[in-house]
Symmetry: D2
Subunit: 342 residues, 4 copies
């Protein structure tokens, strides 16, 4: 942390800040410039947020953190890439991994049909929501426990591992018993009680970036899970909220190389929620693999116009097969891992 | 819902859309213009999100919702203003209500000192966090149950009702037993499980807008609470996330008259979290009352530089007393309620 | 400028950076911490942007500017408030100043009628656009030179000084000859050729913040005008672009105290363009004066439903008179100048 | 345009709106639903902005535009793709086009060295700024006319066509005489006087999206150029401003397929300005070609650490050659043109 003093700060004010920094348990290194003094505060980084209160003190202009607030998620802590293994699928390894399926489990018939499509297309993991976070209390809220049972059947039939969302600490036990990967949705990215709870799970966690979440905050949310004891965290970029309305959210494609530079965790992309429209899913998926993502989370539905939710952004089977072929072709011709020198 | 057909949509495509709309349980009213046909879909509004999937169908250009997705929160449902009574404090009535206190309960001594300041300044309700949502897992997470006990003592001593945050469904029973108002924090504004749970409570709920939540989404979150059976909801504008970094968030002052036009629920403002710096709290508080807010939620601390959290944005006692005097003076000279013709 | 080295930066890398800083004409002060070295670069601030390129060099983690990039606009350069005098109106002084009028000059009749309303309401300055920046090339582009002549007549009739927009360097001579204040519109806030040109004018300049301009960038644009020789600059907050769509832009009310803390220049507010709807103009105007603004720029039209542009956000005469009365009352009861300790 | 009446709108209010719509020169088609009446206004689209003022009238809830406000830029007007030919380079055709060079022309020596690198790497067009829009008046503002002469020499030497920025109507003649493509910078995207002026040029125009500009506004700015008589417009996505600060701007990768669906104009991407850091240029360039862009505008500098501007985001020669090879490989293995069904 660096504390920048005002141009006209007095020696006494500088002394007060130095004493205060030391009283907080840090070493203080003042450095007198021509125009103003700056004071470096050295010590354990993880409590440094409190040092920002220095701005209250007389003579202080501003404070600037120097170190990153996350530790376990950082490449400085672990240089190699973390891989997360689910069944015989390795996420974050050399192969690009596709997770696909419907937005919501709607019925056994619909889910089984979807699962067959996903399997046929060559995807690696099956997605489907049993608990659905909906903006409106009047919208379909998911089949809940019954939906989990259907997902288990779909796994049995296809052999594909399952990823499904858990929305509340009260349901973690139940969802954990059924799923292979616990998904934390965008709206719960800073539901800290839930993050701590899934941090105690032995199942991998797919953590979606919130539409309002900075890259640094996403890594801090991952840090909650990691510091609670679960090191199997997969990050997912799914679009951020901006002023642009031609897509539902704005896919932050740069977040892929930025994250790959900052963290050792795998990074996947959800183009369906980012765009909000199936017609942009193919170009955005191509962009995701080209930008260095480790995988994709994509919505597929046999009859999107009958879907109870997110029909507009779901791919029909034929388009999904095309996507899978395109991805294979790109995977073959480029070096998947983009080298980011951080 | 209006479905706009493409310029060159065929009669068959139009027919297909009409049939589909009817199959979803709505009446379809096509209207042929010179350039293109538009189709109105009439029926129960609350499931209409599904109709947006019409965009998948051949010949469809776009869909446009006409009705607001919230019912119980709407002024169309209830014309007069809702008032929420806590002890002998009425929120949403003729008097401007100030809720003040420290960010977090740090110790009995600190909380009692704060409570005395808040009482002396003439505020109406005492705030203080026992459960703290912190970006970092390494930051102070609150005194939890012990903090609630201290808050109860502070209430006993001062006679001021208490507002404190609840972060997880698992803790609602415990917090509910201690507090007078349940606060839902900005990061939990779309934690739907938690919204449903506090919707079953008989205690009033203070619902903070998320930093990336639209006014409409905030009202939908209120709708979750209202439709679960709790009609005592207070909305709180606390700044939204924008590109501007000179304040921590950007106080959306317009949201006050916008909300007052759309809903009958009381609307208060949290200038401390919006600005992130105590020096802007006075002007923003003055702006809030002038723009028609029903009250204020403001952070006060006897020694901000020693606060374990949010010290930078907390008012010192002397500044808090100044603020209270200024607010009284403005309250006296203006019509507090701004007339918004909606 | 502070250059933060990576944790594992070598002595040679540190040396290279020190040498490079010196080769750019700055003094370099390395400071070795426990975890990493930081290097302060001291010297003339105004060319320091180039030092950010240090991030290219091996071993460098990041760079952080310490000083503000503007000089003449800064309170550090001039402590007292700048006042701008136009006729017998003083902007930035003890009196709150209202500039009002139609969005565009549409005809002599309309403008004269508007001018009479503005005068009757007690406003100080008359606004009206002769050159109109319109998103669509097919929209009315303004009466141009003819409009300027009409504005001159309106000034003659009412005695009110005039403010009108200039959009292009080619027209500055013409507009300057007619107007009392040159307005730079939000879309031209970084039209640097135009800023330099009006910086050579002897007429005051009303500089509107762009809808995506930070406070710091606004001050840098002011710096263009000031450093070109014109010290009569009035800043105008008019809403920024955010994700919220219930108002056309989001009035950044915090920008008022933030600007008053950073600069000595007067700051006014345009609630009409911020909100995009007349029904929010009254509460936002009240908020503006309460937050410490020096004045208001507000749209008034005798028959808004017939206005060729911005009808929706224009006040009808009766509402304008109400607004003027409310402002007088608030001005009387509060200390207009909010003390910001910067 | 659709005008939605309030639930309780009276027959008289509906009549008034119908009459008003007709008085504005449009046909009005009211359609009475169960809950409320909606009124369609049919006629020439291009003046319809005025109809939004209907919201002022008693009984009106809201207005909703149906048609897109641009004509000439629209795919509805021209179905095939526009190609822009400069020398023997075709932009918007089957080949992916790379425009590369330094941010600014700094000296003849630097520019010639850059030009040789760009040529050697196999790029198609040479970029370099002679007039530089800089946030700070104290930063290097470009070599201006002398810079243009150097660019001409570089063209002569390499045979590569040139693209360079024009910032002010006063300089269009001069820049036009030297350059092959006129670039309009992000900050001038709504400098309407400049757009009209380059619309009268016979040279192609490279129009950069502003950091604050929606896709629709970008197309409206293109419409200014097209409707002034110049149909050789190339659009350039270069990042938008969001809350995320880990990159300088957020590259809106979705804008590529969105624009390709809405317009027939070529779309290129500037990853250098979007990211603000050279280390993200390679992954973002790969994403751009994969998402369907027609080309790239990229900054290259022989010694970025000595560049007078934007050194941090400029590629060194070796990295530039790598990029060119990667792009060739991707171009070979994928269908460059992504099919967007709009």
């Amino acid at each position: 942390m660096i504390i920048v003093m005002k141009k006209n700060a007095t020696a006494e004010q500088i002394n007060n800040v130095v004493n205060w920094v030391e009283s907080m348990g840090y070493a203080a290194y003042p450095s007198r410039g021509v125009e103003r003094t700056i004071i470096g505060a050295i010590g354990d980084d993880r409590g440094k947020a409190r040092l920002m209160s220095a701005e209250i003190m007389a003579g202080v202009e501003s404070t600037m953190p120097i170190l990153k607030p996350y530790k376990l998620a950082s490449r400085e802590t672990k240089e190699g890439n973390t891989t997360v293994t689910v069944g015989n699928v390795v996420i974050g390894g050399p192969e690009f991994v596709v997770m696909a399926g419907p937005c919501a489990v709607e019925s056994e018939e619909q889910m089984m049909e979807c699962a067959a499509i996903v399997k046929k297309g060559g995807a690696h993991i099956l997605r489907g929501g049993a608990f659905k976070p909906r903006t409106s209390p009047y919208s379909f809220q998911g089949m809940e426990e019954e939906g989990l049972k259907i997902l288990e059947k779909a796994r049995e039939k296809t052999g594909l591992p399952i990823v499904t969302e858990v929305m509340d600490t009260n349901n973690v036990d139940m969802v954990e018993a059924s799923t292979d990967i616990l998904q934390i949705g965008a709206r719960n990215v800073q539901n800290f009680a839930l993050l701590k709870r899934v941090g105690q799970s032995r199942k991998p966690v797919l953590l979606k970036r919130g539409m309002m979440t900075t890259v640094e905050e996403l890594l801090m949310s991952a840090e909650y899970i990691l510091s609670s004891g679960n090191d199997k965290v997969i990050l997912c970029e799914r679009g951020i909220r901006t002023f642009e309305t031609s897509t539902r959210n704005t896919l932050d494609i740069s977040a892929i190389p930025v994250l790959k530079g900052l963290t050792h965790l795998p990074v996947i992309v959800d183009p369906s929620h980012a765009a909000g429209h199936w017609k942009y899913v193919l170009p955005l998926s191509r962009a995701a693999i080209a930008a260095g993502a480790d995988g994709l989370l994509v919505e597929v539905h046999p009859e999107p116009e009958k879907a109870v939710s997110d029909g507009l952004q779901s791919l029909k089977p034929k388009k999904f097969y095309c996507l899978m072929e395109e991805l294979k072709r790109i995977e073959g011709c480029i070096k998947r891992e983009v080298q980011v020198v951080s």
